[in-house]
């Protein structure tokens, strides 16, 4: 969503999240910087069967395309795995949890069309 936090800071946040939530951190993966790239995410999705889940820095790192996002939600639900979002402290592995994440996405995408603050 057009925001960038340095990778080492993202890693710190993810490691801290894993520690506080009793998740075993295996290794980190960084997405390609090209706009709308989700190649690395797709690669990890191929390996999902071998791990318990994914911890992303933010839920807004999911693909901007709603069809692609839905595909990802569906894979997590079908495989009974979980995706965690460290900054937001949220996670999704069920239909209900995925809908919660999707609502946040849709509001975020709608906000540029809403009133703006003059501050």
């Amino acid at each position: 969503m057009g925001e960038r936090v340095p990778q080492h800071v993202q890693n710190l946040v993810i490691r801290d999240y894993c520690e506080r939530n009793g998740l075993h951190f295996l290794l980190s993966a960084a997405e390609y910087a090209m706009q709308n790239s989700d190649l690395i995410l797709e690669q990890i999705m191929c390996e999902l069967k071998d791990i318990d889940g994914i911890v992303a820095y933010s839920l807004f790192q999911l693909p901007e395309d709603s069809v692609k996002r839905n595909n990802i939600y569906n894979q997590f639900i079908a495989m009974r795995k979980k995706i965690y979002f460290a900054v937001e402290g949220l996670s999704a592995g069920t239909k209900q949890e995925c809908e919660r994440i999707e609502i946040l996405w849709r509001v975020r995408k709608t906000l540029p069309d809403c009133i703006k603050s003059c501050l």
Partner: protein, 264 residues
């Protein structure tokens, strides 16, 4: 505006004072929240607690040393926020006031804050500030919920809108070199918000507010949580990482999902 008389009165009062104090709209929810705190205190201290909830909360400083207060507070607040349904209960306590003053499509803070202020404790002070001064959206309000009766220095204070506007005009001269100097320049104009258990405050976090050393003989327990309209501007506290929609309406859901028919 097409408001009822009650809504008009609430609106006028909020705009004039910068806050409103009202009865908790859901007393069962309030008692449920208070009982959860009592359970958590018992578990954290690993002791049998005797007395009414109010007595236990008001005199907790007799059981926890100041040096252990922060760790105690963290355990309680983590435990509290992990209880299923806590945020919904909190919302119900202020719901009609929020729907009148803010919106019926609300975003709520993801984690509720807790303040425990022991008598004479100088380590838990909140210097005078407006949340907007550190990047909050001026479209946010705070729902401040006491778990015990709060009065005099056991309460919080706020600078009313008129005086706040005057402060903004002469801020550089009045702020001096510290937040304490700023407080001293406004202390004759502030208002202490007396509020009893069973009542709730909704206040404008863009107005200067804070607390002082609690000179009363009882501990203050209060919670606070921010709310705003889902589609109003966000400041540093963003959707997802801080706020989450809690009363999104059907037309907004369909509107956000709408796509024109594909014609090419």
């Amino acid at each position: 505006m097409y408001f009822t008389e009650d809504e008009n009165n609430l609106t006028k009062e909020y705009l004039h004072q910068g806050y409103v104090v009202r009865p908790a709209a859901d007393l069962d929810a309030l008692e449920w929240l208070q009982s959860k705190f009592i359970d958590l205190i018992g578990e954290t201290l690993d002791v049998e607690l005797n007395g009414t909830p109010k007595d236990i909360l008001n005199h907790i400083h007799e059981k926890v040393p100041v040096s252990e207060l922060n760790e105690f507070r963290l355990k309680i607040i983590r435990g509290f926020n992990s209880i299923e349904g806590v945020r919904e209960k909190y919302f119900q306590i202020a719901r009609p006031y929020l729907e009148t003053l803010v919106s019926n499509e609300l975003a709520m803070q993801l984690r509720i804050n807790l303040s425990i202020q022991f008598p004479s404790d100088e380590s838990s002070l909140l210097p005078v500030h407006a949340d907007t001064w550190s990047g909050d959206s001026p479209f946010e309000v705070v729902v401040w919920l006491p778990l015990v009766d709060c009065y005099s220095t056991k309460a919080m204070y706020i600078l009313p809108p008129q005086k706040s506007a005057e402060l903004s005009q002469g801020f550089i001269e009045r702020a001096g070199t510290s937040s304490e100097e700023l407080y001293q320049s406004m202390k004759n104009d502030i208002q202490w918000l007396e509020v009893k258990y069973g009542e709730v405050i909704v206040f404008d976090q863009a107005l200067p507010h804070g607390n002082r050393v609690n000179d009363e003989s009882e501990t203050r327990w209060s919670m606070n949580c921010r709310f705003k309209g889902v589609f109003t501007p966000y400041g540093d506290k963003k959707i997802g990482e801080f706020f989450e929609p809690i009363t999104l309406r059907a037309a907004s859901k369909t509107g956000m999902a709408y796509k024109h028919p594909i014609t090419s």
